[in-house]
C-alpha cells in the first residue's frame, strides 16, 4: 500500500454502551424475554398492573427527547388496548355482580350466535381491565426495548447459525424507527407543500409512509447481504437441520401439553426445556464453526449480570409459582368476583423487572 497509515495502537478501551443505556443488548434481551414470560403466565390483575407500571417506569427512565415519536407509539398501543374494554364488556355477560343492563342483540346461528349487550357485570369489567393491563405491559416492554438497544449490536449478537433469522428480526424491529424517521421527513414535506401535519393527515399518507419505511428496511437487508453478513455461518448440515426441526416440534408439542393437560405438567415442562435446549445447541454448534470477528468486543459488565440475573430470577419465580399453583398468579374473576391475592414472592418477581432503572441511574451518577 502506498498510503501511510497512522496506526493508533494504544487507544483506551472504549465503553461501547450509549449514554442512554448503560446495559448491553444481552441484558435487555433477557429483560424483555423475562417480562413477556411473566406477563403471559400471570392472570392476576394486581400483578399485571404492577408489571405494567414497572415497564412504564423503566421506559421513562430510558427515553430521551429524540424518542418523542416512540411515545406516540406507546400511547397508540395503550389506546388500542383500551378499545378492547367495551368489546369485552359487550360480549362477556357472565358473572354474578350486575353493574348495569344494556339492550342486547344476538347474532344469527351462522355467526356463532354471539350476543352483544345484556348485563354488564363487575366480573367482566375486571377481566377486561386485566386484558388492558396485559396488552399495555407488553407494549411498554417492547417500546422500552426498542429505545434502549442498538439494533445493529443486537444483530451482531445473533449466533451465526441464525444469521438470516437475525436479519429478519432486525429488519422487523427497524421498521418501527424507520417509520418514525419517515414521519419526520414526511412532516417536512407536507409543511413545505403548505399543509398542516397532524393526526388528521395521517390516513392519507399512511400507506406511502409504510411503503417507504419497508423499502428502506429492505435496502438495509440488501446492504447486510452485500457486505457478507451471515456468509461464514456455513450451510446447515442435514443432521443439524433435522435436529433443530425435531427440537422445535418437541418444544411446540410439550408447550401444548403443558397448558392443556395439567396432569402432565412436570413431564411436559421437562420436554419443553429439552426442546429449547436442542434448538440452542444446534445454534451453538453452528456458531463454533463460524469465523466472524468482532473488532470491538462488548464486555458483560456487573450491571448486565445484575439486570440479566434479576430478569431471569423474575421469570423463574413466576414459572415456579405457576407450576406449583402458588402465589395467586392465576386468577379468574368468574363466576363471582373475589379479591385477588397479593403475595411477597410474585410481587418481588415483578419488582425485579425494575432493575434497569436502578442500574441506569447508578451508571449515570
Amino acid at each position: 500500500m502506498t498510503m501511510q497509515a497512522a496506526i493508533v495502537s494504544a487507544q483506551p478501551a472504549r465503553s461501547r454502551h450509549d449514554a442512554a443505556s448503560a446495559l448491553s443488548e444481552l441484558a435487555w434481551a433477557a429483560w424483555l424475554a423475562a417480562g413477556l414470560i411473566v406477563v403471559l403466565l400471570i392472570s392476576n390483575p394486581l400483578y399485571i398492573g404492577l408489571i405494567m407500571c414497572c415497564a412504564l417506569v423503566v421506559y421513562v427512565s430510558q427515553r430521551t427527547p429524540e424518542h418523542r415519536l416512540v411515545d406516540l407509539l406507546l400511547l397508540g398501543g395503550m389506546c388500542v388496548a383500551l378499545m378492547t374494554v367495551p368489546l369485552n364488556l359487550l360480549t362477556g355477560t357472565t358473572g354474578a355482580t350486575a353493574l348495569l343492563e344494556l339492550p342486547s342483540v344476538t347474532l344469527p346461528g351462522w355467526l356463532a350466535s354471539v350476543t352483544f349487550g345484556g348485563t354488564v357485570t363487575a366480573e367482566s369489567l375486571v377481566y377486561a381491565l386485566t386484558h388492558v393491563a396485559a396488552i399495555g405491559a407488553i407494549v411498554a416492554l417492547v417500546c422500552t426495548f426498542n429505545v434502549s438497544v442498538d439494533h445493529f449490536k443486537l444483530l451482531k449478537r445473533t449466533p451465526p447459525g441464525l444469521a438470516q433469522l437475525g436479519v429478519i428480526v432486525t429488519i422487523s424491529l427497524l421498521l418501527v424507527p424507520e417509520t418514525l424517521r419517515r414521519v419526520v421527513t414526511l412532516r417536512e414535506s407536507r409543511i413545505v407543500r403548505g399543509y398542516p401535519f397532524g393526526l388528521r393527515s395521517l390516513p392519507g399518507v399512511l400507506l406511502p409512509l409504510l411503503a417507504e419505511a419497508l423499502e428502506r428496511s429492505v435496502q438495509r437487508a440488501e446492504s447486510l447481504d452485500a457486505r457478507g453478513f451471515g456468509s461464514l455461518a456455513g450451510r446447515s448440515r442435514p443432521a443439524e437441520t433435522l435436529a433443530a426441526l425435531t427440537s422445535l416440534a418437541a418444544a411446540g408439542l410439550f408447550s401444548f401439553l403443558y397448558f392443556y393437560y395439567p396432569s402432565w405438567h412436570f413431564a411436559s415442562a421437562v420436554g419443553l426445556m429439552l426442546g429449547v435446549f436442542g434448538v440452542l445447541g444446534v445454534g451453538w454448534r453452528q456458531a463454533r464453526r463460524a469465523r466472524t470477528t468482532r473488532l470491538f468486543r462488548e464486555r458483560i459488565s456487573t450491571m448486565d449480570w445484575i439486570v440479566g440475573g434479576g430478569s431471569i430470577g423474575a421469570a423463574a419465580l413466576i414459572v415456579t409459582c405457576r407450576a406449583l399453583g402458588a402465589g395467586g398468579v392465576t386468577f379468574l374473576p368468574f363466576p363471582s368476583l373475589t379479591i385477588p391475592s397479593f403475595q411477597v414472592v410474585p410481587v418481588t418477581a415483578c419488582l425485579l423487572l425494575l432493575s434497569p432503572i436502578l442500574v441506569t441511574r447508578r451508571a449515570r451518577r
Binding site: 497509515a5 445493529f152 417536512e188 403548505g194 428502506r216
Partner: protein
C-alpha cells in the same frame, strides 16, 4: 489479461416494468481494469452493478435471462453474501447502505463478516480513516453525519474489504471536490497495489474519464455500446470540459485530462484571480440573514452568518461536507429555528409562506409520497395555493410519459426531476435547492440550469447548496463559501471560483484567469495571439 467477470446475453426487466432495462448485454471485464458506465438516468447502470454482485435478481425478482459470472462463480447459483469477499458494492444512496450506529462500526462491519483477523481489521480501519480524511468522524454517530460525510464512510466501509472487484454507484454525487479527489486517489492506490478491478457508474465524468480503461455507454432502451475513441467520449453529453475544448479546437489526440491538454495551452498563469467587481445591486433585497447562529443538540452548525439575497440572483452555497450548507438552506426555508440572529424576508401577499418559498431536500424520495407524478404536482398546487398548470410543469421538466408512474418506481435522477417539478410548480419567489444534481444526467442538468436562470430572470431568488462546481459556474451569479459553519467568502461566481485548486472548474484549471466554462475557454483560446 485474465477475465474477472463475464456477462453473457444478459437481459433484465423489473417486475411490472414496461420494458427491459438491460437487453442482450455481452461483456467481459478484465482483472485490474477500470470500467466507466455512462448513460442517462434510468438507463440501467445501477441495475448492471447489482447484477454483478447478485442483488439482481436475488433481492429484486423480475425477469432475468442470460448469465453473469464473477471470479468463476455464476451469480445465480450463490447468494450475494457469498460473493461479498470478491465483490464490493458502494450504493448510490449511502443512507441505504448504512447499518451501524457509529462510524467505526460501519467501516469495519464488512471485514468482520468475512472473519478477518482483528489486527488486520484495526490496520485497515486506520488506513481508510486516513486515506479518506475522515479521522475526525470516527466516533460520530452515523445518523448525525451530513450526506457527503456519510458517503465517505460508506465508501470506506467497502474499501476496507479490499474486494477483487469494486463497484461504485455514483460515488462522488455528494462529495465536495477535495473529498472526491481523496476517494479517487484511494481507489487508484488500491488498483495499483492490489490490482483490484473497478466499475464505476457516474454522471460527473471529469475526474473519472482520465483513469478509465474503457467506457460503456448505456441507453434508456436497454442497449449498450463501448466508446472506443476519444472523439466519441468528447461527444458524450456532460463530457469533461477539456474533451469538449479539445474537440472544438481540433486538438489531436483529444485530451482526456488537464495534464494531456496542458501541452496544447502551456502553463496556466497563477496568482491572477479574475478582477470582478462586487455584485451590482441588481434587484431589491428579498431575504436578509443577520448574524445567524444555529445549534443542533450540542453542536454549533452555523455561527455568525450574514448574507443578503436580492431578486433575480442565483446564489450557490458551497463548502466541504459538513460545512453547514444544508442547515443554512433549512434555516432560509423556515424549517430550523435559529439559536440567535434572524432571517428576515420581504415576501409579501396572502397565503402561507410556502406559496412563495419552494424547498427541495437533498433526498428527493423524502419529498414524494403520492401515487403518481401528476398527483405530486397537483398536491403542491392545492396545498400552496400557487397558480400553475400541470401540463406546463410536465413540459418544463420534460416529464411527459412519466405522469402516471409512481415516483418510487423511477430512477434517482428521475425522482430528482419529479421533486423539482412538484416543489417548483407555479412561481415561487424564493427557490431553495439542496444538491439538486444528485443522480442527474447531463441533459437533465442542462434543463435545470435553463429553468433556474429563467426563474431568476423573472425576479425569483434561487439558492443552491451544491458541490457541483460546473453547475455553480454555469448557473450562479454569486457563490457563498462556507467552512465550519462560517462564511469565508461571498462574491461573484467568477471571482470566488477562479484561482483555486479545489473549488474551481476544469476549464479554469486549464486556462486560468476569469475563464469558468468550456465556452469561455474556447473563446479565450481562440482570441489569444499565438
Amino acid at each position: 489479461m485474465t477475465s474477472i467477470a463475464a456477462v453473457r446475453g444478459l437481459s433484465f426487466a423489473y417486475a411490472n416494468a414496461p420494458s427491459a432495462v438491460i437487453r442482450d448485454l455481452e461483456m467481459d471485464v478484465n482483472e485490474g481494469e477500470m470500467l466507466l458506465l455512462v448513460g442517462a438516468s434510468g438507463s440501467g447502470k445501477s441495475t448492471l452493478l447489482r447484477c454483478l454482485n447478485g442483488l439482481v435478481p436475488h433481492f429484486h425478482g423480475g425477469t432475468f435471462r442470460g448469465s453473469v459470472t464473477v471470479a468463476g462463480i455464476d451469480t445465480l447459483s450463490r447468494q450475494p453474501r457469498d460473493l461479498a469477499s470478491f465483490v464490493g458494492l458502494v450504493f448510490q444512496d449511502p443512507e441505504a447502505q448504512t447499518v451501524a450506529a457509529t462510524v467505526e462500526d460501519e467501516i469495519v462491519f464488512g471485514l468482520e463478516n468475512l472473519g478477518a483477523d482483528r489486527g488486520l481489521i484495526r490496520r485497515r480501519l486506520e488506513e481508510m480513516l486516513d486515506a479518506l480524511n475522515i479521522v475526525h468522524l470516527r466516533r460520530r454517530k452515523t445518523e448525525t453525519l451530513s450526506g457527503g460525510e456519510l458517503q465517505r464512510v460508506a465508501i470506506a466501509g467497502i474499501l476496507t474489504m479490499h474486494p477483487r472487484m469494486l463497484l461504485l454507484d455514483e460515488p462522488t454525487s455528494q462529495l465536495d471536490p477535495q473529498s472526491a479527489e481523496d476517494m479517487l486517489r484511494t481507489v487508484n492506490d488500491l488498483r495499483a497495489d492490489l490490482g483490484i478491478t473497478v466499475i464505476v457508474a457516474e454522471h460527473r465524468l471529469d475526474r473519472l474519464v482520465p483513469h478509465a480503461d474503457r467506457v460503456l455507454a448505456m441507453s434508456e432502451d436497454g442497449d449498450a455500446a463501448w466508446l472506443t475513441t476519444r472523439s466519441t467520449i468528447a461527444a458524450l453529453p456532460g463530457a469533461p470540459a477539456v474533451c469538449a475544448i479539445g474537440a472544438r479546437l481540433g486538438w489531436s489526440p483529444v485530451p482526456l485530462s488537464i495534464i494531456e491538454a496542458r501541452r496544447f495551452v502551456g502553463r496556466r498563469p497563477t496568482g491572477e484571480a479574475a478582477r470582478v467587481p462586487a455584485i451590482a445591486a441588481a434587484g431589491e433585497p428579498l431575504i436578509e440573514v443577520a448574524d445567524l447562529k444555529v445549534r443542533i443538540e450540542d453542536a454549533v452548525i452555523l455561527r455568525g452568518v450574514s448574507i443578503k439575497l436580492r431578486r433575480g440572483e442565483v446564489c450557490a452555497l458551497m463548502g466541504r461536507n459538513g460545512a453547514g450548507k444544508t442547515t443554512l438552506l433549512r434555516a432560509l426555508a423556515g424549517l430550523i429555528r435559529p439559536s440567535t440572529g434572524s432571517v428576515r424576508s420581504e415576501l409579501a401577499g396572502g397565503g402561507g409562506p410556502y406559496r412563495r418559498i419552494a424547498y427541495v431536500a437533498q433526498d428527493p424520495s423524502s419529498m414524494l409520497y403520492k401515487d403518481s407524478v401528476a398527483d405530486e404536482i397537483r398536491d403542491v398546487l392545492r396545498g400552496t395555493g400557487r397558480d400553475g398548470s400541470l401540463a406546463e410543469t410536465l413540459d418544463e421538466w420534460r416529464l411527459h410519459g412519466l405522469e402516471t408512474r409512481n415516483p418510487r418506481d423511477l430512477s434517482v435522477g428521475e425522482r430528482q426531476r419529479v421533486a423539482l417539478a412538484a416543489m417548483l410548480v407555479g412561481a415561487p419567489e424564493l427557490i431553495l435547492l439542496d444538491e439538486p444534481t444528485r443522480g442527474m444526467d447531463a441533459g437533465a442538468k442542462d434543463l435545470l440550469v435553463a429553468n433556474l436562470r429563467r426563474r431568476a430572470g423573472g425576479g425569483a431568488v434561487v439558492v443552491i447548496a451544491s458541490h457541483d462546481v460546473e453547475l455553480a459556474a454555469r448557473c450562479s451569479d454569486r457563490v457563498v463559501l462556507l467552512s465550519d459553519g462560517e462564511v469565508i467568502e461571498d462574491g461573484p461566481t467568477r471571482r470566488v471560483l477562479t484561482d483555486s485548486l479545489v473549488f474551481t472548474t476544469q476549464a479554469n484549471k486549464l486556462v486560468g484567469g476569469d475563464v469558468l466554462t468550456a465556452e469561455d475557454a474556447i473563446l479565450h483560446l481562440t482570441n489569444v495571439p499565438s
